[in-house]
Amino acid sequence: MNDANKSCLKGVGLTKIFGLGKQRCLAVDHVDFDFKEGEIISIVGESGSGKTTLAKMLLGLISITEGDIYFEGVKRDISSQRKKKEYWKNIQAIFQDPYSSYNIFRKIDTVLLDCLVMRGQKDLPAEEKNRLITEACSFVNLKYEELTNKYPFELSGGQMQRLMIARVFLLKPRVLLADEPTSMIDACSRATILDMLMDLRRETGMTIVFITHDIGLAYYVSDSVYIMEHGKLIESGSADEVILNPKQAYTQRLINDVPKIHEEWDLSTVDAR
């Protein structure tokens, strides 16, 4: 399907230090990685392990203290606003909290119309625009007619997050960074959203970087898994490799923390005590 060996996003010695002097905080510590095109990659770690900081660096939303990012083999250049815009055509994101991802003062359809502007389709006839947006909405099981003239607070969290996916569907970037897209969503919507991400990959062949603290979820969706602890990448490899044969104690601990609903609970040991 895809050329499995073609590098899509590559980081060399990525470091991020916040603050100055005594208050400096090493958030991401010399991280190296090579994301292959068309894969779903999971970055797993506890809260505060630097996952989101790494994602923001990859998106170019915060500056990099040290290190380089290569996009499709070429060193990333986002020195000007125009180049940034060009870069953001290739890389997009879904954020953790759908409730704070939208500007509450703007109507929802403007978010989707902005995508068309970004794609350079500002001057399309209205029906064509409508068709594209309706298509994107139906991809995520939303009805565009129901969204027009609505403000974000009139939607549920699941709907908002699905709309976020519709936005990505419209933009069709090469890479999607999904930063804990399901952590604020109830369990039912969670499966729907994960399935939609998988569909998105199948349809467009985009690389998805899936950031999560839930290693079970990571195992469910991803081809390869990266484990982060205290700003360092401590283990990486294919999903099976990392999760079935963890080398690091930290990884083992993350795996043990996943609640196992299908296993029988061993209550006898409790009684014996």
């Binding site: 815009k85 953001w88 997009q92 939208y102 902005d114």
Partner: protein, 416 residues
């Protein structure tokens, strides 16, 4: 947005403040439409005429006389001329000149006047008595002359060649005129000020000017603070450093001192109301700037701003549509406070004599200044400064009330 407006008008504090403020504003707008003419025209020859109804004397004598037989006419006449203070003063004079204190009964008007008329001599001078005090007793003596007489007053005309007086008519003690039938009556509800101007139109025009100064100063301060705060907070880096440095400079030097220095250096002739407003505006933007900046710093890393960036919006677009609406409620409240503090700053400057140049326009501060220079507060001419204080207090009170009401709407954690 519509929802928010409805909520604003459901807040009782806001509504009360709004009604007070609007009535003051409308008064200053509508009154000049009905009462045209220069509000600063000098009508009184003298300072601080008391509030009251002024009747032209010639018209009063000329108009039709009515005889009314009413009780207490003499008592009222005596009470006005010979109050408790006057009686005490008379007693003080008499005692000082050797009349035994026991002989003087200040309650018995007739006896008191008899003793007074027998003993008072305007040439006598008590050691240590000031000239003003001596003149006061002379005036008192003249005013109580013929107080108990029951005769009328004779109006006489003078023959131009011989100078002989001919009796024209006698006005009896119980004769009245109808004020409505008299052609020249002037009502001065708040009297006149030190220049002899009618206080009411002057006060209303002063309220208008002060509100204008407040609006101009508040707009400049809010706009400047908002723009600098947005830029400093969102752009960050060296731009933030420079703006923060300037802001800190303004904070370290008290803005009122700065205001005094700038006003002084502009000079008396150049200081119009608008100039003063601009100067106030340019010295009071600092806190708005700091508050907006810190809010923007917390907003600029929010996800919706990141999403807007990822959607390829320019920095200007992000500031205007993703940051500004979020700080708008604060800015509206800051604007209201800036208006009221602008009015207060103008009053403070004018009291020091650094306000708009005098005799050009009236402002609330200038009226206070005039009243103070002419010692209205020492002489007890309350009408020259008390209404001004009430006006200033009502304006700032209504604005603070509106602000508190808005705070309750915009900040749900403050609601009970």
């Amino acid at each position: 947005m519509k929802h928010m407006l409805q909520q604003v008008f459901h807040s009782p504090k806001f509504v009360v403040g709004f009604i007070i403020f609007m009535s003051i504003l409308l008064l200053s707008v509508i009154y000049p439409i009905f009462v045209t003419g220069d509000p600063l025209v000098i009508i009184g020859k003298g300072t601080f005429f008391e509030p009251g109804i002024y009747v032209n004397v010639v018209d009063g004598i000329d108009s039709q006389l009515y005889s009314l037989s009413l009780p207490d006419v003499a008592e009222k006449r005596i009470a006005l001329k010979l109050g408790a203070t006057e009686r005490a003063d008379m007693k003080e004079w008499l005692v000082a000149f050797g009349i035994p204190e026991a002989d003087i009964d200040t309650e018995d008007t007739e006896a008191l006047l008899n003793i007074w008329n027998q003993n008072y001599d305007s040439k006598l001078r008590l050691p240590g008595m000031t000239n003003a005090r001596k003149n006061y007793f002379a005036r008192l003596d003249a005013s109580i002359d013929n107080l108990l007489s029951t005769e009328g007053i004779i109006i006489a005309s003078k023959d131009p060649s011989t100078g002989a007086l001919t009796e024209e008519e006698t006005i009896g003690q119980s004769q009245y005129i109808n004020v409505n039938r008299t052609s020249n009556v002037k009502v001065l509800p708040l009297g006149t000020d030190n220049f002899g101007r009618d206080m009411v139109p002057e006060l209303i025009s002063a309220i208008g000017t002060s509100l204008k100064i407040g609006f101009i100063a508040g707009s400049i301060a809010t706009l400047l603070g908002l723009v600098l705060g947005l830029v400093a907070g969102y752009v960050g880096g060296w731009v933030d450093d420079i703006i923060l440095f300037v802001t800190n400079l303004f904070i370290v030097i008290p803005s009122f001192v700065l205001l005094i220095l700038i006003s002084y250096s502009i000079g008396q002739e150049q200081r119009g109301a608008v100039t003063v407003a601009v100067v106030i505006g340019f010295t009071s933007w600092v806190w708005t700037c700091r508050a907006v900046r810190s809010q923007v710093i917390s907003l600029r890393n929010r996800d919706h701003v990141n999403l807007s960036k990822l959607s390829g919006h320019s920095t200007a677009h992000i500031i205007i549509s993703d940051i500004l609406p979020y700080v708008a409620s604060y800015v509206v409240m800051a604007f209201i406070l800036q208006i009221s503090s602008g009015i207060l700053s103008e009053a403070g400057l004018s009291i020091l004599g650094l306000g708009p140049k005098t005799s050009d326009v009236a402002t609330l501060g200038l009226m206070m200044n005039w009243a103070m220079i002419y010692s209205a507060h020492i002489m007890g001419k309350w009408w020259a400064y008390f209404p001004v204080i009430i006006a200033i207090a009502l304006i700032t009170f209504s604005m603070n009330l509106m602000n508190t009401g808005l705070d309750l709407v915009f900040n749900p954690t403050l609601r009970d």
